[in-house]
């Protein structure tokens, strides 16, 4: 049955389904129990599944991920909540040195089907450490997979796919889009669902390709709508999977349109846009009408909330990049 719900509620439903589908799934994190998480993504789950399956943990991120590893060795499928993007770094060692490498180190003997959920990105007027976009720091690490959702329907499906996957997955949630609504089919099976590690064309077009993910997908679609008034038919791709990147979908689009513009909140230097630009240039060189352009956060620490709107890519900056691409 299709319902219109928020992205946050869709994640909540997805986690509930995961807990129902597999008794080995456990949720762990700070405040995920009675409170339901600071964003209420785990709302009501402890009440229905018990304190052993929805675990309020001590306030220690390395401990959350480190103990999840031990639980996974024991056969569990932990879903870790990191409360905010800027709080993941105490766990970074366990994620990079242990989670990512365990399957390789153990010669394929130890699978760590761990999902690490991280609300990411800005736009909510928060204090320092609450608005960051560290996805490239994880996408760079072999052994991890990194995904992010942009719509309630994808949130519901992708979180279930991530939990069901045998890969360790860092799951970035666009926190400023938690309250945006969309239609979700809560009865949908995972069988036949759109693959987790595949990009999706969310608006077809012919003149340029906008590559976005997470919170910037909506911005990109709005830019495409505005560009249409100027007679430009933009294609928007929601990358969804940041590691591995689905370059097949990207190349096919760019070969048709001849132009590519990457949009993300994270700083531009060595961000996802850098990798996308390099790979598009290597593979689509003769199709390109202009260099791949990037619209990103600046190479500064995330600024104070009252100026964050000037930091974040918005509709106008995307349209400006589109103009530059066509003016080449």
């Amino acid at each position: 049955m299709a319902e219109t719900i928020t992205l946050g509620k869709a994640l909540n439903h997805g986690l509930r389904r995961s807990l129902e589908d597999d008794p080995k799934v456990v949720i762990m994190g700070e405040d995920v129990g009675k409170l339901g998480g600071v964003f209420r993504i785990t709302d009501g789950l402890q009440k229905d599944f018990g304190e052993d399956r929805v675990i309020d943990t001590p306030l220690a991120e390395s401990g959350i991920v480190g103990t999840a590893i031990g639980l996974a060795i024991r056969g569990y499928r932990p879903v870790c909540e990191i409360q905010f993007d800027g709080f993941v770094f105490p766990a970074y060692n366990q994620i990079v040195a242990q989670v990512a490498k365990m399957f390789y180190r153990s010669l394929g003997n130890v699978r760590l089907p761990i999902v690490i959920r991280i609300p990411f990105g800005g736009g909510i007027g928060a204090v320092e450490h609450h608005s960051e976009s560290p996805e490239a720091l994880f996408a760079h690490i072999p052994g991890l997979k990194v995904v992010t959702c942009a719509s309630p329907a994808d949130a519901y499906t992708m979180i279930r796919q991530a939990v069901a996957s045998d890969d360790p997955i860092v799951f970035f949630e666009p926190k400023r889009r938690y309250w945006e609504k969309g239609e979700v089919d809560l009865d949908a099976d995972l069988a036949g669902a759109f693959p987790l590690h595949q990009a999706r064309v969310v608006k077809a077009g012919t003149d340029a390709t906008i590559l976005a993910y997470g919170p910037m997908v909506r911005t990109a679609v709005e830019a495409a709508t505005a560009a249409a008034e100027d007679g430009r038919n933009l294609e928007v791709i929601d990358l969804r999977t940041l590691s591995p990147l689905d370059m097949t979908t990207v190349y096919a689009s760019v070969r048709r349109t001849g132009r590519a513009i990457v949009v993300h909140e994270a700083p531009g230097n060595l961000g996802l846009g850098s990798e996308l630009a390099a790979r598009i240039t290597e593979e689509c060189f003769y199709s390109l009408e202009a260099p791949v352009l990037r619209v990103t956060g600046y190479d500064i620490p995330y600024p104070a909330a009252r100026v964050e709107e000037e930091y974040l890519p918005d509709l106008d900056r995307v349209l400006d990049a589109v103009d530059r691409s066509f003016g080449w």
Binding site: S62, G70, N109
Partner: protein, 379 residues
């Protein structure tokens, strides 16, 4: 006295430790600590002799590995020299269903689990990264980043509770190994917090070998390490780490408490790293010879030998046979290490993701194409 303290123990540090076999090879019948725990062992003569065999064997295998490293056959070796009693005693204290989380130095524990001692040599020879199935051997892969495995062990122990495999003598327990340096790591302190909060069935076994590479214990702590446990709300106890009997008795009791649902505990095995941190280290730069000499008098094997001889449990024929058997095992190990094949370079692309990866497959294919392009060339 704080919990777990014992006034007895020849050559004990201030505060004492549990000792059931003195450096002179005298048996102490039992030790009762301040919190009322009594420790003793009840071994048959044959069991004493097998413990001795374990000690001699793991030292001989370790010596062979050190030699192999010096001869260029291992990239590096982390010697357990001096820590045999701590490892053999605690390792033999594990029951079959118990799970061990080692650092990279627990070759002695590995041996007591009945595992082929060659298993970790892939790591030290550079043939692989040290892979095996932890659940098959009840012995996790070696962990190199200091302290990380204590959190893995804690999570595993939480899983035991969640599985309901706790609360009686058939229950499962976990032992997490680490050193004195690791006690400064955040992860170890987080593991203490978590284990306490969740009453996890785990024994934290700290081999305090007095040095974290070059840094002496005083650089890690201003109180005895075992007393840290009190701050986390569970028992801490110090043992003579060179006494295989104390190591066995205290670890066995702690594991049984854990499996019975009485929660975590910390054992500090007070010992000494007789060799270098690893084969790449030079301890003469930071410690004096007289200190090493003083610890030689506390050697774990000599005291056991002295005990067996004085009690007429073992004769020269037995002692000689143990040495010979250990030597045979060591030479066999040497041969098999030398016979380890280098991996095919293309295997570096294996086991990155459980279900493979088209991206890595493409890189593997490109790697093979590139190398094939040189075939038939005059180099």
């Amino acid at each position: 006295m704080a919990n777990g303290e014992s006034e007895v123990g020849a050559d004990a540090p201030a505060g004492g430790f549990v000792q059931l076999l003195t450096p002179d090879g005298e048996r102490v019948d039992s030790v009762t600590t301040a919190d009322g725990m009594t420790y003793s062992v009840d071994f048959t003569d044959d069991e004493y002799k097998e413990l001795y065999r374990d000690l001699v064997t793991v030292r001989r295998l370790d010596a062979e590995a050190t030699a192999l490293q010096r001869q260029g056959e291992l990239g590096i070796w982390a010697s357990l020299l001096g820590q045999e009693a701590a490892q053999v005693g605690s390792g033999r204290a594990l029951r079959k269903q118990d799970m061990a989380f080692p650092t990279y130095r627990e070759h002695g524990v590995l041996y007591t689990r009945g595992i082929d001692p060659i298993m970790p040599f892939g790591l030290f020879r550079g043939v692989d990264q040290g892979g095996w199935d932890p659940n098959e051997f009840k012995f996790n892969t070696y962990t190199i980043v200091i302290g990380s495995q204590t959190l893995h062990a804690t999570g595993y122990a939480m899983g035991i509770t969640m599985d309901g495999k706790i609360g009686n003598g058939d229950g499962e327990a976990v032992i997490a190994y680490f050193g004195d340096g690791a006690t400064s790591q955040g992860d170890v302190n987080e593991a203490f917090v978590w284990s306490g909060v969740f009453n996890a069935p785990i024994v934290f076994f700290c081999q305090n070998n007095q040095y974290a590479i070059s840094e002496p214990l005083e650089r890690q702590t201003r109180i005895p390490l075992y007393r840290r446990a009190a701050g986390y709300g569970f028992p801490g106890i110090r043992i003579d780490g060179n006494d295989v009997l104390a190591s066995y008795a205290v670890t066995r009791a702690a594991l049984d408490q854990a499996r019975n649902g009485q929660g975590p505990s910390l054992i500090e095995a007070y010992t000494y790293r007789m060799g270098a941190h690893t084969s790449s280290d030079d301890p003469t730069r930071y410690r004096i010879a007289s200190e090493v000499e003083s610890w030689k008098a506390k050697d774990p094997i000599l005291r056991m030998k002295s005990f067996l001889t004085k009690q007429q449990i073992a004769d020269d024929a037995f002692l000689g046979e143990v040495d010979e058997t250990a030597k045979t095992l060591a030479l066999d190990l040497r041969e098999r290490v030398l016979a380890m094949p280098d991996p095919q370079p293309v295997t570096m692309f294996d086991n990155v993701y459980p279900h493979g990866s088209p991206e890595i497959d493409a890189q593997r294919a490109e790697f093979e194409r590139y190398h094939a392009s040189f075939e038939g060339s005059a180099n």
